[in-house]
Amino acid sequence: MPGYLVRSVAPLGAERTDLLLRDGVVVALGRDAASQAGSDDTRIDADGLVALPGLVDLHTHLREPGREDTETVDSGTRAAAAGGFTAVHAMANTAPVADTAGVVEQVWRLGRDAGWADVRPVGAVTIGLAGERLAELGAMATSAAAVRVFSDDGKCVWDPVLMRRALEYTKAFDGVVAQHAQEPRLTVDAQMHEGVVSAEIGLTGWPAVAEEAIIARDVLLAEHVGGRLHVQHLSTAGSVEIIRWAKARGIAVTAEATPHHLLLTDELARTYDPVYKVNPPLRTAEDVAAVRAGLADGTIDVVATDHAPHAVQDKDCEWSAAAFGMTGLETCLAVVQQVMVEENAFTWADVARVLSHTPARIGRVADHGRPIAVGEPANLTLVDPAARRTIDPRVQQTASRNSPFAGRELPGEVRWTFLRGRATIADTVAVPAPSRTGAHA
């Protein structure tokens, strides 16, 4: 099969070179690439583009099975490809819940069939996300989907005994428990961050302590039983401090931050526009600064989108009636570029670390998050950092429109994404897998 000769690209923003991609791998670099390229290889003028390893998202909601009106594995992974991702984790809060080997294998197969990105299903920790009994974690781990990340995301594994057992049990198959840290009693009917803005606009508060108390408990549980803990969508300055303390103690904990918690604040709730309603909620400017600092110094390991598509009617209503969540796959890299790279806190190598290498390592995703080197899988994305786009949800690949960045200008544009050498995004255009085009013909 013919491949791609990528000319004059800057891997991780470093010196420009050529890459030859063929048969799913990087077959040559530098001068060798051009000399080995054949006449039928597609030539890409990548002057000015940065090459990154294909991005890996530890946290998306692809909504299938159950809410195909808002997103499918196909549309969600197409959005992922457009955002530069080659592997995504799909959360378990579908209908039915991904709490059995059958459901996780279904989601995994849907991803494989769609061909946009590798889908790594996340298994529910408890049956039906009910927080009462452990789901068959081992069966999901040994299924074809090879689940390694377990989460009741959307709900907190609140029962400390159950959380302890999950952290212990997953050690048998190198799993990780990804916790949605939210103390339920402290967040009954919670609508937004509890603080100056909530006091003024009269929405029930979601206090920072409700997140921090669970994280503090969980890091101590992880230390006690020696399990692997991943903290999802960390949003407060206090949470950053707790993770920093836990890591200094040598506890096996990792943490993620979302793009929206790196950029947006609770001031946006003053509009009462539910596009800004998300869980955990947008916090204060001080929290945003602390989360950025935590990401910059490595306390926070990864950026994950928490891509949460919702139907129009679930956002086109009054705030308290609206669903929590916002889309993020197609704006994630742009936000990280704006808040980290353009603020000189990150190099492109750091971007590759938090959006590819480390999430792949946490999720035990083989063949992703690899170096850009000869013999490595050709999972790559090429981004134009000089581009500027005004975000318009109507032209995005996701099936939903609830982007909090709509109308905002953000830097950077994903021009090409390669999944095992196949261009899923070719000069910004989504290209269905050959088997899919056949199926649709």
Binding site: S198, G202, L203, G205, P207, C317, E318, W319, A321
Partner: protein
């Protein structure tokens, strides 16, 4: 002024102008024929998603005395309880020909959404939204205070108003703090710490947990907030008796006030909980007067929003 969603929408001059208009409206209400032709031919919809007989009939009386047609839409037992969205309800009312919507909703910000989401293009009056705002209540309270403390003119500069009770859940408290501060009054909030919102320190007022200390500080008016009995079962305070002892306005506390000081309550009162019968029925109590003033203030608001172009062309 296009909508009235929050007292923070009002600066000092526009607030005083509204109160002056309300004063003019009040003069007409002592006539035998109370009805004015100002809004003849216009339709005002009272869209109430929450039970509120008092506020609804006050708006209804205000609209009718301005000769507007009034449609009362109560969400209970309607299509709304069958799952119709706020958006669809609003658009239905617009299609019927509403010229203004007066909305009461349990969700904070619902009137703001009606005004700004692009669903409808009529003026929106907030008749109370969740724990956010109840601007006409604050205006009628200010109107009442101004009559007694400032001869019905100008603002409330230098006056001290103490607001007591469940501030956390109260849209009346939020509206009043904003408006009274805008009018130059000094405001002190009094509540148990559990019934004050985190973030209250950014408000334009003082805050204390000690009612007796607040009442000893040159008070011109005490405004008691309604306390819902279910707050006790949610653990905000231990018992009704303890609340009444520490934060209730009783006869002894009223007796310690200066002679001119007023006692306000937005109603409905829990006699024996936040206010004793002696305090509620004392000559300083303006509770009944507040109800009458509510009609004048709401007439002024509807008149200003709907006949704004006519305002200034002679007195109403």
């Amino acid at each position: 002024m296009r909508h009235l969603l929050s007292t923070t929408d009002l600066d000092r001059d526009s607030a005083v102008a509204l109160l002056d208009t309300a004063e003019a409206m009040a003069q007409t209400q002592s006539r035998t024929i109370k009805k004015l032709p100002a809004l003849r031919g216009l339709t005002i919809v009272n869209l109430f998603f929450e039970d509120s007989t008092r506020t609804r009939i006050s708006f209804e009386a205000a609209a009718k005395r301005l000769s507007a047609d009034v449609i009362n839409f109560s969400a209970k037992g309607s299509s709304v309880s069958k799952g119709e969205s706020l958006k669809d309800t609003a658009q239905t009312l617009r299609a019927i020909g509403a010229d203004a919507v007066v909305v009461r909703h349990p969700s904070s910000g619902a009137p703001h959404r009606l005004a700004h989401a692009g669903w409808i293009d009529t003026p929106v009056v907030n008749a109370g939204d969740g724990m956010h705002q109840h601007p006409t209540q604050a205006l009628l309270d200010a109107f009442t205070l101004r009559r007694h403390l400032a001869d019905g003119r100008g603002d409330l500069a230098g006056r001290h108003v103490v607001v007591v009770g469940d501030v956390l859940h109260s849209r009346v408290a939020r509206s009043n703090v904003d408006l009274l501060a805008t009018l130059g009054a000094r405001v002190t909030l009094v509540a148990p710490p559990t019934l004050l919102p985190i973030g209250v320190e950014s408000w334009r007022c003082a805050v204390t947990y000690d009612l007796d200390a607040a009442l000893a500080d040159d008070v011109d008016a005490v405004m008691m907030l309604r306390v819902q009995r279910e707050r006790m079962t949610s653990g905000f305070f231990p018992s009704e008796r303890e609340y009444a002892r520490r934060y209730g306005l009783d006869g002894a506390r009223v007796d310690r006030l200066a002679d001119h000081a007023l006692v306000l309550h937005p109603g409905p009162m829990n006699r024996g909980l936040e206010i004793s019968a002696e305090a509620a029925d004392s000559p300083r109590s303006t509770v009944v007067e507040q109800v009458a003033n509510g009609v004048s203030v709401r007439m002024a608001v509807l008149y200003t929003l709907l006949a704004g172009d006519l305002a200034g062309e002679g007195d109403a």
